[in-house]
Structures are given as structure tokens and as C-alpha cells.
């Protein structure tokens, strides 16, 4: 059974990875590198580094809905390089692609980060979709909702690296108007994006503690994650696939509420080539993660067998007829 996928020449086997912001650091991912995940992605970082929000940054709202507003804390490009310099060779020899996630408030700083980190990863993902911004911050979704800005950032990145550039998009514009996400995905594709990731957390979630009479998150609002957002993620991937399939051969990384092998297949049939898991990793120790991933891979193989298919890639976009 072949559960692999190719993204701009990178082999991801199995076609399952962590979502950016989950585990964050390569020191943690190193411990997972022998498990059944095909690639790893770091937490989004910017050139200058950033403090992020005060705790609480993450809270459960119900069994299927969580919200977070971490505020993209990171130690900056140089600290990032110092760590990646030590850990990247490990991923290289394990045959597991390492993707570095970046964001910034100017194309110049984005380029500086890429130049500094270019030697220490296999691909970049541009986070143009984080909904949890500080007042006045011009990054994340502020960029990702404007086709013109998306094009500028992707072109800037492509100008300084030969490594694949993945663009992570938000469901926000899609929820507003399906045509809008098509424009944005096409803008990324025109600018040379090698893959599209969708979706990020869904903006605007709030949990109020009724006894404290206050929103739990320090940022008040947070991005919604967990099983609750899966229908939106599947629909968004389906729409992006539809927009791209005519003129571009650009794979999609499907993200949002994935927990089971069935969830994975749903995203694959919607048009994703690779999927990323986030919130489903909550409360799992290393041993539990290993067991969970092995279980999900086994189940995926059984599902494919039942469908009489031996390559996962043959199912990509199957729901489009």
C-alpha cells in the first residue's frame, strides 16, 4: 500500500504531517521522527521575533471545539537558525522533509529570514492566514485575504529561494464568498507557489467562563480548531482544488479538524494530496502519539483496500466529477 505523496519533488511518506504550531520545535519533532508521520513543520517565526499573548492561549470549548490565540511567539530568525543548524541534519538523514513556517510584516524581512534559514530546511510555508494578531499588526490574515498582497509575498519568497514555497491560506475569505478564496489561491499560484495549505484556525472564536464572567483567552478571541471545523476545511480544500485544477498542477495540504483515517480520506477526496493533524494531538504523550499514528495509518490502509485502491494519490480529488 502506498500512502506517499509528492510536493514539489519532496516525498512525504505517509502523506500525513503535523500542522504548524503543533509541537513547535524541532527538538520535539526529533522524538517523533521515527513515527508514522511523513514530514514536519515548525512553528511560524518572523525575522525579529515576537512575544505573543499572555496565558491562557488555548482552551477547550467543547469535545470538538478548541480555540487558541498564541500570538505567534517566536525567538526570531537567528535563534531559529541556531536550532535548525543542529537539528536539520537529523531530519535529512531520517528522510523526513522539514518545512519551516514563516510570517512577517514586510517582504524584506521575509526574504531575510529565508536567506538565513535556506540551508536548514526542505521547504518554506508562508503563514498568510494567522487570525490572532496584535492590534495594528500587519501579518497573517491581513496579507492572506488580499490577492495582491499574497502575490507580493509569494513572489518575494520565490525570488530568494529554490526550495518549495507553500502558502497557507485561511478559510475566512472562503466563508465570506467562495469566489474570493479562488482568487487568492490563483494569485498564489500565479506568483509561483509550489503548494497551498488550507485551512488555518477559523477566526473569531470566544469562550467565556461564566463564573469569572470573562473571556478565557487573554486575546479574548481565538482561532477555532478541532473536529468542529472539518466541514469548513473540506469545503475550502474542495473549492481551492476546483480553482487550480484547470491551469495549475499544485498540490494542496488539507488541514482542519482531522482526527481519523476517514477524516483524512475525506480531505484527500476533496483534493488534498497531504494532510496535517493539529488539535487531535492534544493530551497525548509520546507513546500515545506513536500508537495513535500507527492506528491511523493501519486504518487508512484498510480503507483503501476496501475501496480497491493501492495508492493514496489515486484518490486525490476523487469527489470532483
Amino acid at each position: 500500500m502506498d500512502l506517499s505523496a509528492k510536493i514539489a519533488g519532496l516525498c512525504i511518506n505517509p502523506a500525513i504531517m503535523n500542522a504548524s504550531g503543533i509541537f513547535s520545535f524541532t527538538s520535539v519533532m526529533k522524538r517523533l521522527s521515527g513515527m508514522q508521520l511523513g514530514a514536519f513543520i515548525t512553528k511560524s517565526a518572523c525575522y525579529d521575533g515576537k512575544e505573543g499573548f499572555e496565558n491562557p492561549i488555548f482552551t477547550k470549548c467543547s469535545e470538538e471545539a478548541w480555540i487558541n490565540a498564541v500570538g505567534l511567539p517566536n525567538a526570531g530568525a537567528e535563534a531559529n537558525r541556531n536550532e535548525l543548524e543542529k537539528t536539520y541534519p537529523y531530519f535529512k538523514s531520517a528522510g523526513k522533509p522539514l518545512i519551516v513556517s514563516l510570517f512577517d510584516n514586510s517582504t524584506e524581512k521575509l526574504k531575510k529570514s529565508i536567506l538565513l534559514l535556506n540551508k536548514y530546511c526542505d521547504a518554506f510555508e508562508l503563514n498568510l492566514s494567522c487570525p490572532n494578531l496584535m492590534p495594528g499588526e500587519r501579518t497573517g490574515i491581513i496579507i492572506g485575504r488580499e490577492p495582491k498582497l499574497v502575490k507580493q509575498y509569494v513572489e518575494a519568497a520565490k525570488a530568494v529561494t529554490k526550495k518549495p514555497v507553500i502558502v497557507k491560506l485561511s478559510a475566512g475569505p472562503y466563508i465570506d464568498d467562495k469566489e474570493r478564496i479562488k482568487e487568492i489561491a490563483l494569485a498564489a499560484a500565479e506568483a509561483g507557489a509550489d503548494a497551498i495549505s488550507a485551512i488555518n484556525t477559523v477566526a473569531g472564536g470566544m469562550k467565556i467562563d461564566i463564573h469569572a464572567k470573562k473571556p478565557v483567552l487573554t486575546a479574548k478571541y481565538g482561532g477555532l480548531s478541532g473536529k468542529a471545523i472539518k466541514p469548513v476545511g473540506v469545503g475550502c480544500v474542495y473549492t481551492i482544488y476546483e480553482a487550480l485544477k484547470e491551469d495549475y498542477d499544485i498540490p494542496i495540504i488539507g488541514i482542519g479538524g482531522i482526527e481519523t483515517a476517514e477524516d483524512i480520506l475525506e480531505y484527500i477526496e476533496a483534493g488534498a494530496s497531504v494532510v496535517a493533524i493539529g488539535t487531535a494531538f492534544a493530551n497525548k504523550s509520546l507513546e500515545e502519539i506513536e500508537f495513535y499514528l500507527s492506528d491511523i495509518n493501519n486504518r487508512l490502509e484498510r480503507l483503501l483496500k476496501d475501496l480497491d485502491i493501492d495508492k493514496l494519490k489515486d484518490l486525490v480529488g476523487a469527489a470532483h466529477v
Partner: protein, 251 residues
């Protein structure tokens, strides 16, 4: 999602150390921790010193605010999280070794034990030594000699005849734990040395990774570890992550 508790008692344990007693029990095992949210301030992890109490040292803005609270005030708590000393405890002789407020989770552990372990308790001064009367069979040390023997908690190893192949449960500042591990290794095997570790924690669910120590997330893979699982850990005793995730060389 938080449970809300009322403070029913506040005990002055030592200089800058208070125990906050809650009106309800928390279904927790010794060594586990809870996340305490002070709305409008922040949220921090605390290990339990009993099934209805946390013992806290005043360190910064958060604990400053907590110290201003009084009996009857409400606390918002989620958890418990993490593993327990009980996951590692086995039949046989035990030593509990505590530095400062490290005595808090170990005193909860002692409540669960049938036999009385030997307790080695260290602090900088007499005013900072806590829980001496909670335990039975205590030997104390202070850096300045104001109580017990003068020296570090590791010096107490020389004061008694240590039984070989015992289990050692250690909690305190990481440098102190590293030194105590060295002493314990003279008498027992790596897997019999059990440590409770601490890092800057954010989500408490194993998601954000900020509390990792050489790839082990303290919140879900710990906070209790056997020394055999961390002896090769490149961060232990050396590095911790700050709020931004920066690896800092200082413990």
C-alpha cells in the same frame, strides 16, 4: 475549561511561601499539576501539595497577585494534568529529596505512602524551609546553617547510612536535582531516580511544545521522569525555553 474553587484557608509556610487551601478536592495523584488562571493576569502551572491545596512561592507578577487574595476569594483551575510519582513507585525503601518548594508535591506523595520515607529537606535559610513538620523522619539543611546542617541538601547524604537499591524521588531547582542525582547514583540505578521537572508552560495539553525539555513535553510526557529517560537529555540542567520559545542557558 475551568472549575472554580473558593480559598478556605491560607497558611504561611515560610518567607514568601504560602499554601492556599481549596473548598473542594481535586481528583489528582501526587506529582500531577493544575493550571491556575487568574483572570486578567495570566495562567501558570502549580503542582499540588495535597488533594485540595497548592503551595506557592512568591516569584513574580502572577504570584504577587495570588498572594493578595484572601479567604473566600475564587480560584479558576483546570486539570489535573501529567503523570504521577505513583507511576514510578515500587515496593522498597524510598528517599524523598526536596529543595525549597520542591517539598510541595513530595509531601502530597508522602500522604499516599504506607511507610514513612526518609526525607532530605534543603533550603537557603531557615525562613525558606517548608513542611519540616509535615513529614516524619526529616533531615534538614540550610545554605547558611540557620537550621539543620550547614550546606546543600546533597550534603545530607553523608549524614545517614543510605540503603542501596532504594528509590529516590527528587524535586527542587534543576541544578540541585542534577547534584542529587549524582549522589543517588552512588547508591542505586538510574531507573530508581525519579525527578519532577518544570518549564515555562503555555497550553498544558502537549500542543504548543513550549514546556519541552530536549523534546519531552513536561505537561504530557511528565512532569515526573525517571533519570534513565533524561540522562542523555541535552537540555536537562542546562537549557529552558522562555516565553518566546528562545532556548536560554540558565537554570
Amino acid at each position: 475549561m475551568y472549575e472554580h474553587y473558593k480559598i478556605t484557608d491560607i497558611v504561611d509556610e515560610a518567607n514568601n511561601v504560602k499554601t492556599f487551601v481549596l473548598d473542594k478536592k481535586i481528583l489528582a495523584k501526587p506529582g500531577q499539576f493544575v493550571m491556575l488562571w487568574l483572570p486578567g493576569v495570566s495562567e501558570k502551572p502549580f503542582s499540588l501539595s495535597s488533594d485540595n491545596a497548592i503551595t506557592v512561592k512568591r516569584l513574580g507578577v502572577f504570584t504577587e497577585r495570588l498572594f493578595k487574595m484572601g479567604i473566600g476569594n475564587e480560584l479558576f483551575i483546570r486539570g489535573p494534568y501529567g503523570n504521577s510519582f505513583l507511576d514510578f513507585a515500587k515496593e522498597g525503601n524510598k528517599y524523598l529529596i526536596a529543595g525549597g518548594t520542591g517539598a510541595a508535591p513530595l509531601s502530597f506523595f508522602a500522604e499516599w505512602l504506607n511507610e514513612n520515607p526518609t526525607v532530605l529537606l534543603g533550603a537557603r535559610t531557615k525562613d525558606e524551609l517548608i513542611f519540616e513538620r509535615r513529614f516524619k523522619g526529616v533531615l534538614a539543611s540550610t545554605d547558611d546553617g540557620s537550621h539543620g546542617i550547614k550546606g546543600m541538601v546533597t550534603d545530607l547524604f553523608n549524614e545517614i547510612k543510605i540503603k542501596n537499591n532504594s528509590q529516590f524521588f527528587i524535586c527542587g531547582p534543576e541544578k540541585m536535582m542534577a547534584a542529587a542525582v549524582g549522589k543517588a547514583l552512588e547508591h542505586t540505578q538510574e531507573e530508581n531516580i525519579i525527578l519532577s521537572l518544570e518549564r515555562y508552560m503555555k497550553c498544558g495539553h502537549g500542543i504548543c511544545g513550549n514546556c519541552e525539555i530536549g523534546g519531552l513535553r513536561v505537561c504530557v510526557d511528565g512532569p515526573v521522569f525517571s533519570y534513565s529517560s533524561i540522562k542523555d537529555n541535552e537540555h536537562f540542567g542546562k537549557f529552558k525555553r522562555s516565553k518566546t520559545g528562545r532556548l536560554e542557558y540558565e537554570l
